[in-house]
């Protein structure tokens, strides 16, 4: 069911979230926006997927969260990459690169 799709995306989504946070503290909405900007509007993460992933990452200790006041005067929950998160991001990026490289090689062979 829906779970399979989430599982498939989870690793990638986790990496995207971590990457967006590597540039600074953000709230949920900000994460979505940043991923969209960075991907030239190609990747649009849905809220329904973002928050479960974000919470899971928080439980894993890769990000920490706190409530704060947004520049617009509204309160929002801000997420910040922890040291473990930064390490995780590096690992994930490295393995992602390997994967892309491997796929590229396979594709060139045809």
């Amino acid at each position: 069911m829906a779970k399979d799709k989430a599982d498939l995306l989870q690793g990638t989504l986790d990496m995207l979230i971590l990457k967006s946070l590597s540039l600074g503290e953000l709230h949920g909405y900000g994460i979505i926006q940043r991923i969209r900007q960075l991907s030239d509007e190609m990747l649009n993460v849905e809220q329904g997927s973002l928050y479960p992933a974000l919470y899971r990452i928080e439980q894993k200790g890769w990000v920490s969260a706190r409530w704060d006041v947004h520049e617009t005067g509204r309160e929002a929950k801000f997420y910040k990459l922890t040291r473990a998160g930064r390490k995780q991001l590096e690992t994930q990026e490295a393995s992602w690169d390997r994967l892309v490289l491997a796929i590229a090689k396979v594709r060139q062979a045809t």
Partner: protein, 885 residues
């Protein structure tokens, strides 16, 4: 994953679900607001901005739910939900719940009760230090009698020649008269070498136990019970003098309350000791070879195994057989671990009982599984709705299993109450020789066992129905016309039939075992024991050795007692014997020679039981004089060297000729003392009802004088009524003379068969319970089946079937289920009743009559159980049944 973060979130959610949801909600809302502001900044009007934001967000509730899955209570929360839901469900179906809980409680209660006994006797360490290092040493006689006592000389040789033991101690149970303080009383005394307490590793409560220097000194150690009863529990008792058998002893110590060391099978008193004295071990030669009356207990050295010790003892004994052939020819020896000594003979029955209650529990499980299935069919729609709303299968199975576990736990709570009552009842009927059973109870081990059993049962009876129900097809169940027999319903019926068949099979095994035991028990009662137990009173009179100097004085005392007793009203006859049949201990046995016949080589001569009795004994016990004559008055006044022999001896050694007038030299005396056979009496089963009587000779009291004798009185009417008058007569003759073991012969018998009765009663009870439960099971299944087939039966009736045919139709269905169960059960019984072989008497482990009887019984019972649903089927109104659609 940092599991503690997850755990923290889960627990936080468990404490306050609202707080967690609020937090998520707040975050989602802040997200929405940010989006709306963004939209407004992009130039949209407020209304549109909000609408667009909402649309892009999607279903807010779904998002919160998805987030809650991560942050929420998870397994913990579903568990509490499941429990709450399950509890509500159980409360709603009160009838179902109470029947299921009661059924389980019976099964679990019986299990707990039996386990508590098993735990106490077979699993818990014995109350001695490092009890697994303590062993008993015995001789084995040339005739193959095991656990035979040894002589002083042989004990000394064992002690000198063995290397396996830290220490060895010899002991012998005797009866001493305690006088000088209040009422005279006969005590059970363990005479032991000083090492006894060292070997057992038990310290005294007060004072000290024996030390090597005590050898031959008149010192005594009290049991806690005796100390409390006769000395008021006073500390000052240590150092105080007491009078035992008219001799002075000094109390040196008191043992703790739970201390006991009683080897029932080889005890001369049949009771646990209340007092310990030093066993004299004189150093002279010769006399020490005679008389095998010592039990031996020893503590193994570290690292020495029982097998090694046994091999060593056999070697020593083989040497003795060569060195001292006149006493040890063909004797061997054995070593027994203490637990084996105490409980070796109950281990198998106890495990069997535990197996039997296991069967009862399995039947109870099958029944509850069946109940759950019927309940599940009533809940089909509820479960289908849950599935339709998106509950996954695992979630539904989990819910149903939680309910089963809840039932099992409720059952075990009630079961513990049953077990408590059961243990009380067990303690009342358990044979007393199963030692210190006062501590059997609900301890931690037993509670853990019960918990384990109930969780296991919950899973056993819950899993099949849960898996079955969760596989239901949504559409079929949601459709209103779920009354007809769908494919699932038939699947469920197959499952139920299988359950009932196994219940019946299990019940057959239990019934077969119980049937065999009952038959053995009846056979045991019917054995020709050679004496008549009705209207006979017995009591033991023990005259202190120090009271009289001459044998004639003892003889005279007992004949005076008899004279007085015979004149009491309702007394028909009275006599004396040294050891009563089946009194719970051993008599004496020794070798003999027949004068005028060639002498057999040492160790191969004939052996006979030896008893001392008077003519009145045979009369009072109803032992028939088959040939010759009884003892005359003169022969009972002074030694005339005459004996009576039993039929077995006559048959074995005088098959061709008349034994009367032959002379036997029975090795009971220091020098050869031939005695003339004057008569032959009937065989009596003295040691056991099971074994045939060995040869026996009877001496009159003057020829072989004992200081203790058992009075045997035959009365008109209730024998125990005469007891006070008899005791008064004895007291008037000798004020300081106690009597003990006042029992009717029927009581003696009943104590002897206590163990057999206990096994029979218990297994019979379990078998009855099993039958009842399986009857309930088959009733439930047939009832359900009739409900499912209402329409079909209505149709049959409508097209002209006779009600009687419908009745037969249902009965036939039940009959086949029963037959399949009975056949499977008989097959299992053929394989399993072999385990009973040691407990059976006069009946083979596979007994066609018994098996046929119990099969018939079970068929009748289950047909009766089917009759009610069948009658209901017969009365179905065709019109209403057909309108049901």
């Amino acid at each position: 994953m940092k599991w503690w973060n997850v755990l923290r979130d889960r627990l936080r959610a468990l404490r306050g679900r609202e707080t967690v949801i609020n937090d998520i909600d707040r975050e989602m809302r802040s997200h929405l607001e940010l989006q709306i502001e963004e939209n407004i900044r992009a130039g949209m009007p407020a209304g549109e901005a909000r609408e667009r934001a909402l649309r892009s967000f999607g279903n807010v509730n779904r998002a919160v739910d998805a987030a809650y899955d991560v942050k929420g209570g998870g397994l913990f929360e579903t568990l509490t939900q499941d429990i709450r839901y399950g509890a509500r469900m159980l409360a709603k179906h009160k009838a179902f719940t109470s029947i299921a809980v009661l059924t389980l409680a019976l099964g679990i209660g019986a299990n707990t009760a039996i386990f508590s006994v098993v735990n106490e006797l077979l699993l818990r360490p014995l109350p001695y230090r490092d009890a697994d290092r303590v062993v008993m040493l015995w001789e084995v006689t040339p005739e193959g009698r095991h656990q035979n006592t040894t002589s002083r000389a042989n004990f000394r040789r064992w002690r000198e020649q063995s290397t396996s033991y830290q220490q060895l101690a010899a002991f012998s149970d005797q009866r001493f008269n305690l006088t000088g303080i209040g009422e005279p009383e006969e005590l059970s005394v363990q005479m032991a070498t000083p090492e006894l307490f060292k070997v057992l590793g038990v310290d005294p409560l007060l004072g000290r136990t024996f030390v090597p220097d005590d050898a031959d000194s008149p010192v005594a150690v009290l049991s806690y019970g005796l100390w409390q009863r006769r000395f008021g529990g006073q500390q000052s008792v240590v150092g105080q003098p007491i009078t035992l058998n008219d001799e002075k002893y000094t109390v040196i110590g008191v043992m703790p309350p739970n201390f006991q060391f009683h080897i029932k099978q080889r005890s001369g008193t049949g009771r646990p000791a209340e007092l310990w004295t030093i066993l004299p071990m004189p150093n002279g030669p010769g006399a020490n070879e005679r008389g095998r009356f010592l039990s031996t207990v020893a503590r193994l050295k570290d690292g020495v195994t029982v097998d090694h010790a046994a091999a060593e003892l056999r070697t020593i004994h083989a040497r003795l057989s060569d060195e001292v052939p006149q006493f040890n020819k063909n004797f061997t020896a054995e070593v027994l671990p203490l637990r084996e000594q105490f409980f070796g003979n109950v281990r198998r029955p106890l495990w069997l009982m535990l197996g039997a209650v296991g069967f009862v529990l399995l039947i109870a499980c099958a029944n509850v599984a069946n109940l759950l299935l019927s309940l599940a069919s009533a809940r089909e729609k509820e479960i289908a709705v849950r599935a339709a709303l998106g509950a996954r299968r695992i979630r539904i199975v989990r819910q149903l299993l939680t309910e089963s576990l809840l039932l099992a736990l409720l059952g075990s709570v009630l079961g513990l109450a049953f077990a408590w009552l059961g243990i009380k009842a067990l303690m009342m009927i358990i044979p007393k020789d199963l030692v210190s059973l006062q501590s059997v109870g609900l301890n931690v081990t037993v509670l853990l066992w019960t918990l384990g059993v109930s969780v296991l049962t919950g899973i056993i009876f819950g899993l099949a129905p849960a898996l079955h129900v969760s596989r239901l097809n949504l559409n079929d169940s949601l459709k209103e016309g779920g009354k007809s027999e769908s494919s699932q319903a038939s699947g469920s019926r197959r499952l139920r039939s299988a359950l009932v068949v196994s219940e019946i099979a299990l019940a057959v095994v239990l019934l077969a075992s119980a049937g065999l035991l009952i038959k053995s028990f009846i056979r045991l009662q019917q054995v020709d024991r050679g004496f008549d137990t009705d209207n006979v009173l017995t009591m033991v009179i023990r005259v202190p050795d120090a009271r009289f100097r001459e044998d004639a004085q003892f003889v005279n005392f007992f004949s005076q007692v008899l004279e007085r007793v015979r004149h009491l009203p309702t007394v028909r006859s009275a006599g004396i014997v040294n050891y009563l049949p089946l009194y719970g201990g051993l008599g004496s046995a020794t070798g003999f020679k027949i004068l005028g016949r060639p002498e057999p080589p040492p160790g191969q001569g004939p052996v006979t039981d030896v008893r001392v009795a008077d003519s009145g004994y045979f009369q009072s016990m109803g032992i028939h004089l088959l040939h010759g004559r009884n003892f005359s008055d003169a022969e009972q006044r002074e030694p005339r060297h005459v004996i009576l022999i039993n039929e077995a001896l006559a048959r074995a050694y005088f098959a061709e000729e008349d034994p009367i007038g032959h002379r036997l030299d029975v090795a009971m005396f220091e020098k050869p003392t031939p005695a003339e056979i004057i008569g032959v009496v009937g065989n009596v089963r003295y040691d056991s009802l099971i074994d045939a009587s060995p040869p026996a000779v009877y001496f009159p009291h003057p020829d072989l004088t004992y200081s203790f004798m058992t009075l045997v009185i035959r009365t008109d009417g209730e024998p125990s009524a005469i007891a006070p008058a008899v005791q008064r007569e004895i007291r008037s003759l000798e004020p300081n003379q106690p009597v003990s073991d006042v029992r009717t012969m029927n009581q003696v018998m009943s104590e002897w068969v206590a163990r057999s009765r206990f096994n029979t009663l218990l297994l019979g009870l379990f078998a009855g319970l099993a039958t009842l439960l399986s009857a309930v099971g088959i009733f439930g299944v047939m009832n359900y089946s009739v409900a499912l087939r209402t329409r079909e039966i209505g149709l049959r009736l409508a097209v002209g079937a006779q009600p009687r045919q419908v009745l037969l139709l249902i009965l036939k269905q039940g009959f086949w289920l029963t037959i399949v169960g009975v056949v499977l059960g008989l097959a299992a019984a053929f394989a399993l009743t072999r385990l009973l072989s040691g407990l059976l008497f006069g009946v083979a482990a596979i007994d066609v009559t018994t098996f046929a009887t119990i099969s018939l019984l079970l068929v009748i019972v289950s047909l009766l159980a089917c009759y009610l649903p069948a009658r209901r089927a017969m009365r179905i109104d065709p019109l209403r049944a057909l309108r049901y659609e």
